[in-house]
């Protein structure tokens, strides 16, 4: 499997580097020429901007929004699960976890389209919706992990010594849960990327001429016969990133 790991790292690092460092190589003034002509390295897009520049600019939102949304989901889901798992009263656990089962029963892209159709446009909305959709999954995994840790004899002993519940939770249970949560991280990031990219592609929550890989695929589709690179290059970058994240995290977990 050694060869596969190298493939995974390359697939992860190349799009990430383009996304993070790409904007540095683009001049502030974006010139506009004729739409869909074969000039420059990759040609021009549907409003006549240089495709190469758009590719360099467009990764930041896709990658950043996915990572931020995942971070927000963990920031909400883990404390929620911790409270549920360490609750002295059973009903508190039920009250916290049961509503999440209902969210799990609704298709996530449907939620995204519905909410984004109503809420104000912008990446904030996308982050919130991705968080709403991902929190139940994270909370379930985290609660199971926390329950396992909370029933250990070591914890019982510490409790008998008079440690407070919160010291136990933050000082002992969270570090002990960490490996499980990290193992889950790759799946969550790719799921968030999937949602963010699909939403941008459907024109949910972003400006129609935004420099964004997913938006580029959508808007330049009409020029597929003239300048295929304007569609294929951003699409391939998105594909590479999701494959790379999955392969790398899967290797890291199994080690």
């Amino acid at each position: 499997m050694k060869g596969w790991r190298g493939v995974g790292v390359v697939l992860l690092v190349v799009p990430l580097a383009v996304a993070v460092f790409g904007p540095l190589f683009v001049p502030d003034e974006v010139g506009r020429g004729r739409a869909f002509v074969d000039s420059g390295v990759l040609g021009t897009d549907f409003v006549g901007r240089d495709v190469l520049q758009q590719v360099l600019l467009g990764g930041r939102t896709v990658v950043l929004v996915a990572v931020i949304a995942t971070g927000v989901s963990y920031a909400v889901g883990v404390p929620l699960a911790l409270t549920a798992a360490m609750a002295r009263r059973r009903w508190l656990d039920e009250v916290l976890m049961r509503p999440l089962d209902v969210v799990l029963a609704v298709p996530s892209l449907l939620v995204l389209i519905l909410v984004a159709g109503i809420a104000p446009h912008g990446y904030g909305t996308v982050v919130v919706v991705v968080a709403v959709v991902t929190v139940p999954d994270i909370a379930r995994v985290a609660r199971a992990a926390a329950l396992e840790v909370a029933s250990r004899p070591a914890l019982e002993a510490m409790r008998l010594q008079g440690e407070t519940r919160w010291r136990l939770a933050i000082g002992y249970v969270v570090p002990a849960m960490a490996p499980t949560l990290v193992a889950d991280l790759g799946v969550r990031i790719t799921a968030a990327l999937y949602l963010v990219a699909s939403a941008s592609f459907l024109g949910v929550g972003v400006a129609p001429d935004a420099a964004d890989w997913a938006v580029m695929v959508d808007r330049n589709q009409s020029g597929l016969f003239l300048v295929p690179a304007a569609v294929v290059v951003p699409a391939v970058l998105i594909i590479a990133w999701s494959i790379g994240v999955n392969l790398v995290f899967d290797r890291a977990v199994r080690r």
Partner: protein, 314 residues
């Protein structure tokens, strides 16, 4: 727990979920910032149009009463009518349903046998070269967004090689099945990976179990041991995953319909959301939500029937 009791319990939970979906869909419209009627009327609200929408939506009445009216309409099959075109919502559903059902049906029909066979195939060669390649491929491809995969396939087979039509624009899928090849291929990719991985993992466990070893010692043929004894036990997690991928399939259908210009329910939904046509959005969302709950319900009951132990904890 017997199958009957489990079914009853699961039905109860399912009806609570359906009710929750209905409430959520209704609240979503309630949650419109500001006055719903003004928001729906667009950027330059015309007072007459605002008043018309307001009375059409019954906004003068309290929310609880509106919910009851809407729910009553749903039960009698009346989903209201579009704010934009005045056509009944059921007409929108009837127009989009055949295409969406065709796409999802063909995909599921291909998905179930191919993922089970592929999972069993690699599980019987666990640790080998074929297994490693297939496992890496299923892990990698598992989370690729449909639209990106779709557009690359269109560029390759539709434009570069010219083997298949790039979109289904203006074509009848039934008369011209070639337009369905690429959409179905794209829809298959993600669920195929997920289900194959699960079948493989469960099958590897089952093949290493005591009862399989015992069955082998009794001299049963390998095919009989694998398919009649190990496979049913290995299928339970896959059935539940199949239900969950139906959610994703639904999302995928929305995206794939957009890429290939197929006139299905997903297209109706995206158009209705873009036009803020709330009765249509509500109707479609109820349909999608209820379908998901029912599919999960069926899957849980099938999984319980296949391996009663697995379901008893739920």
């Amino acid at each position: 727990m017997t199958l009957g009791r489990y079914t009853c319990r699961r039905l109860l939970l399912g009806s609570v979920q359906v009710l929750a979906v209905l409430v959520a869909v209704f609240l979503l419209v309630e949650a419109l910032p500001g006055d719903a009627a003004v928001a729906l009327a667009g950027d330059n609200p015309d007072p007459a149009r605002v008043a018309a929408i307001r009375s059409a939506m019954g906004l003068e009445n309290p929310a609880a009463q509106r919910f009851a009216t809407w729910l009553g309409g749903l039960l009698s099959g009346d989903l209201g009518s579009s704010l934009v075109s005045d056509r009944p919502v059921t007409e929108f559903i009837a127009a989009g349903l055949p295409t969406t059902l065709l796409l999802a049906g063909v995909t599921l029909l291909l998905l179930v046998p191919s993922s089970v066979l592929l999972g069993v195939f690699v599980a019987r060669r666990a640790g080998g070269r074929v297994d490693r390649v297939v496992t890496a491929a299923t892990i990698g491809l598992h989370a690729v967004p449909e639209f990106a995969l779709a557009i690359v396939l269109v560029a390759l087979f539709g434009v570069e090689l010219g083997w298949l039509p790039p979109t289904a624009l203006g074509a009848d899928p039934l008369a011209d099945p070639a337009v369905l090849v690429l959409p179905v291929l794209v829809l298959l990719a993600r669920p195929l990976c997920a289900v194959t991985r699960l079948v493989r993992a469960a099958m590897v466990d089952a093949l290493a179990s005591d009862y399989v070893r015992h069955a082998r010692r009794l001299g049963l043929t390998r095919a009989r041991v694998d398919y009649a004894h190990a496979l049913p036990n290995a299928l339970a997690p896959a059935v539940q995953q199949l239900a969950r991928t139906t959610d994703w399939l639904l999302g995928g259908v929305i995206v794939v319909e957009a890429v290939f210009v197929l006139p299905g329910l997903g297209t109706s939904l995206v158009d209705a959301v873009a036009g803020r046509d709330m009765p249509v959005v509500q109707g479609l969302a109820v349909l999608f939500g209820v379908t998901t709950v029912l599919v999960n319900l069926a899957a849980d009951i099938i999984a319980f029937r296949l391996a009663p132990r697995a379901g008893s904890a739920a």
